[in-house]
Symmetry: C2
Subunit: 147 residues, 2 copies
Amino acid sequence: MKRDSRLSSVLHALLHMAEQDGPVTSETLAQCLGTNPVVVRRTMGYLREAGIVTSDRGHAGGWRIHADLGSVTLRQLHEALGEPVVFAVGNRNEIPECLVEQSVNAALQGTFAEAEALLLKRFSEITLADLAADFSRRHAAARRKRS
Amino acid sequence: MKRDSRLSSVLHALLHMAEQDGPVTSETLAQCLGTNPVVVRRTMGYLREAGIVTSDRGHAGGWRIHADLGSVTLRQLHEALGEPVVFAVGNRNEIPECLVEQSVNAALQGTFAEAEALLLKRFSEITLADLAADFSRRHAAARRKRS
DNA sequence: TCAAACAGAACATCGTTAGTTACATGAAAC
DNA sequence: GTTTCATGTAACTAACGATGTTCTGTTTGA
């Protein structure tokens, strides 16, 4: 299964942007992510629509975070990306006539719903500020190790 | 994202088999599932390797359940299918050098691991017998409704 | 005016399940 | 023993959606 890594991508991009003062170009972010500027624009476009970032064209243009780091949760980002399907596994037929399949679906659906609810709950508890703080700790630890 | 529906499929097939006395052919199961006999053989083959079902060729051949319904859990079936990836969402790069990405990965990975653990725990609590009982209830309810 | 940057369309790539076709193999019935 | 019914397996196609790429606009500031 090919996994959707857009949430991972935008988090990575947002934290790099948080480290910078001015706007960051798609080109720069693409290098950080090891991908293409067009992919960055496409993905970040979702966040722009959600009002989480802004983009400016022309000279000195690029992407800026348009929100407080502490107020943006992973859940919001997940929603901004269109709430992509979380599970790579699912029911064969969503609205089956067969009673046997209905039993199967009910059991699986309930279980998946429970797991997804937990995932989204955790997502709503983690902010960009949390990740930035975690990065600072790792950064400091890496510096200590180097010296 | 294309979802893996093999667990759903084998559950559907197994419950149909549980309703039958003798062996059930791939052709019959394929009709129940609305698919192709070859797909049935391919998928059920995993369960045969795990010792959950047996298959016989030739006249009066087909598939049989080779275990007690109460002793087979969804988790075992999931494992028999090769423990397919559960999430359609994931990290962009599993072993990043970038410290920023490491922070992102750590947060996401922890959250996904927690949700997956819950899912597998629930899977290990549900047996084929549970699903068969649920089907019986639905079947009885449908009969009452019809009369 | 020019160059830097985003905007967006259009198309290729890739990985995986699912679907299909074809043929071989084995077992029971006649 | 031949026929028929079934699985076993290989090989190929289809579908799907994120990702990657190319190309052409369009806006903005120097």
